[in-house]
Amino acid sequence: MSSLDIQKVRASFPALSPNSQFSSSGVPYVFADNAGGSQALASVVNKISDYLLNTNAQFGADYAVSKVATKRVFEDAQEIARLVFGYDEGEGDIVWGSSTTLSLEALARSMELGGKIKAGDEIIVTTEHEANVGPWTKLASRVGATVKIWKHSPIPTSTGRPNPFSIGLTLDSLLPLLTPKTRLLAFTGCSNVLGSATPVADIVKAVRKKMGELGGSLEVSLDCVAYAPHMKMDVKEWDVDYCSFSWYKVYGPHLSSMYIRKSLLAAPSSPGEPHLYSLVHHFLSAKPSISNTALKLQPGSPGYELVYATTAVVEYLCGLIGSDVSLTSLTKAFNQLQTHDYTIIQPLLQFLTSEAAYTAGVRVVGDEALSTDGKVKHGRAPTVSFVFIDSSSSSSSSTSASTSNKLRKKLWSKSIVGHVDNAGGIGIRYGHFYAYGLGTSLGLLPPQSAEGEFKNEEEALEASLEDGVVRVSLVHYNTVEEVERIIAVLKEALGL
């Protein structure tokens, strides 16, 4: 398979041009906080403008401009989204929204009002990003359902050296949580902090099998926000019921799409039957074209100019392998992206897990993901988080993140990022990144130098949680040269 044409890639993003306002003396800025939002394609920007200047009319009317507008949004963009999620025609539908958080909140409300989750039911969430956690915990609290947490487990390190932050979601800690009352499982396709793809198909298969044995059934809500920029989604293979992502992290505009399994959208056939309740104006709800479709979860319309612009993202990706838009070409394109991603994070992972870095106190937060032959493990996204600990603080031989709350940071993550920021030309970030529960479970104390600033250990842990981890998050337009620059600056920041 031919490899990514990095020149062609970077030329598609004006922000990466040597002349962009981000560049300094002709040197492009190194965008390494892509998990917070990627740069946008020129073609996306052009399509937004094209829509607003040429086809900006209300839908459903039979004059020409309205017809084009209708087609662009309801047909073209809808079809593109189908390819992106990977479902067969007629098997799914898309909710377009301002954000994944809001769309999941709408889904939770719809499930509540439609009687799908009731008092005594159980919901399983993780400690990952709040978008696919908060709406469910709030729903549970409103209706009197029980929340269970699928916690992360230790996973083997690459080097064999102990690392209490080498953690991930594993099936064996999930299955025992299932009971006949479990109605919903909400987890992530890839962590925005830990950066590893979850084996979704295997997990869902095992979960559905167990639920069958228990005499119950559940629905699965998958958060693919941190997955979608790097790997091809496949809701059909995964057998999930709801799948969400945000286009602004996938080279596009600030808009979200949520896949819903078509059969779940059916209006109730008898009163009292649990269903997805319509959130839209009552006179619209009466129409089958609304009451049986994702439109019932979209109160008010999404920005049409943005919906239309998403088509540019898929055209770009398929264009990378010189193809027209199709499921096959999109899949091939993502394979190319993924191969490139492994190439760029390999040096970073190698650096962060090196003897020198380890001795100084660097610990990768997540899967160190290097095989014995030095290659990056399959499913590792180019999102790498780490902390810098004082390895002389106790419990450094502990392998369980959740019990080692006496470990201390050597440097604030903020100060490491500050050093990088001061060096100029590179953007990375620190924090908990809204994976609040995950951050809490790391249980790190602030650096020794900050000892006297806090009233008690609780306050100290809180401050350390806010400080979180250092995160370097790349995408396919980043280069090995950029990563080498990042490593060089990090070495300085860490005193290596």
């Binding site: 939002g37 403008s49 040429n54 209300q58 039979d62 020409a64 301002s98 943005l306």
Partner: protein
């Protein structure tokens, strides 16, 4: 005589590339066209400041500032006292859905909401949903027929609103201008009357919620002068992108709504565009000039529809026929009934099929103060213009109407 503060129609239209095609945009109540500067700002955001907001690094400071500018600009458009009183969202419907959640616990069973009969669901629907959840009761403010020759010449008057107020009134929600009837209602006067009546009758807390979506393209909003609690604004109807602002006089929680940052920054182009329409660089001057130009669009249309020939043919405006009312905006809804009726959907089809112009049909129903339900089963046909439309375009529309009615 051309006044110095009259609109320069050529200069105005030059801001809108979409108008170059010569197509007559006559469904502006469904969404207006967008000035180039607004589009350029969206592009600028995505190309030059597209990073996570509220983060330390320098580019984020710029993007954060641009989003803040969006709120500040919306505050100016609405004349809100503080940007903190503005919630930005993807749509007015979504904003109201969000607002609804702030009311949990603040409404009791038996509380009364007064809504404007016949008005847009973004406002009415929100309060109906809240009433269904809380056991509050809905009462309707009905319009009256104003022309003896036209049973659809309905207008809402404040004297039919105030008697509806009781000690249990909790919310009064209405449109500053109907997207169908096209008449501005005197919001300030109504707000004052409502509050006086509420005080006299001992109503504890009355929130006034205004739908300014169909009003905003035509007249200046002033939430402080109006003394109201909520006000909805959809940017895509007032020369902006598909995003919306909601004014909340006393925000309970920090805003939890979400909206595309590039569209927020795009919306900052609306205010400079409006201010540029007269040399005075003042919103009131702009909207005075707009009102004056709109009158030149409304007058020929009203004259056409109220002409005895058209009356005999069964053409009837749904809304006020009064040409003296400066609050009559160029949103003209109508039906063709009488001996040879043409269903509204058919009217719309025939007009649009002519090519070169686009209008739309709309469902509408309401009951008058006297209890008469307007018989509008097939809905209305609606011509909705704004200040970039021209008198020539109006005459063309009238010619097309004549063709489809009389041939």
């Amino acid at each position: 005589m051309t006044l110095a503060n009259d609109l320069d129609i050529e200069q105005t239209r030059a801001h809108f590339p979409a108008l170059r095609s010569g197509h007559i945009f006559a469904d502006n109540a469904g969404g207006s066209q967008v000035p180039k500067d607004v589009v350029d700002r969206i592009s600028d955001y995505l190309l030059n400041t597209n990073v996570q907001v509220n983060v330390d690094y320098s580019i984020s400071i710029q993007s954060t500032q641009r989003v803040a500018e969006g709120r500040a600009a919306a505050a100016r458009l609405l004349n809100a006292a503080k940007p903190e009183q503005i919630i930005l969202g993807g749509s007015s419907t979504a904003n109201m859905e969000n607002l609804l959640r702030q009311f949990d616990g603040d409404v009791n069973a038996g509380d009364e909401f007064i809504l404007m009969d016949g008005e847009h669901e973004a406002n009415n629907g929100t309060w109906k949903k809240l009433a269904a959840r809380t056991g509050a009761i809905i009462k309707y403010w009905h319009p009256v027929i104003t022309s003896p020759e036209n049973p659809f010449s309905v207008v809402h008057r404040v004297e039919h609103l105030t008697p509806l107020i009781t000690p249990k009134t909790r919310v009064v929600a209405f449109s500053a201008c109907s997207n169908i009837l096209g008449s501005v209602v005197p919001v300030k006067e109504i707000s004052k009357a409502v509050r006086a009546e509420a005080a006299a009758k001992g109503a504890q807390k009355v929130d006034i919620s205004i739908d300014a979506v169909a009003y905003a393209p035509h007249r200046r909003i002033d939430v402080q002068d109006w003394d109201i609690d909520f006000c909805m604004l959809s940017f895509y109807k007032v020369y902006g992108p598909h995003a919306a602002a909601l004014y909340v006089r006393s925000p309970v929680h920090p805003s939890s709504s979400s909206v595309a940052h590039e569209l927020v920054y795009g919306s900052t182009g609306i205010l400079p565009y409006l201010l540029s329409l007269t040399p005075i660089n003042d919103l009131q001057a702009t909207f005075d000039a707009i009102a004056s130009h709109e009158k030149s669009l409304v007058d020929p249309l009203l004259a056409f529809f109220t002409h005895p020939e058209q009356r005999a043919r069964g053409l009837m405006i749904v809304g006020s026929e009064d040409a003296h009312d400066i609050g009559r905006v160029p949103t003209i809804s109508f039906v063709i009934q009488g001996e040879n009726p043409i269903p509204s959907q058919e009217i719309v089809k025939r007009i649009n099929r002519k090519g070169g112009v686009g209008i739309r049909g709309y469902k509408y129903s309401c009951t008058t103060e006297d209890g008469v339900q307007l018989s509008l089963d097939g809905g209305v046909a609606r011509i909705s213009l704004v200040h970039y439309n021209t008198v020539e375009e109006v005459h063309k529309i009238i010619e097309i109407l004549k063709e489809i009615i009389y041939t």
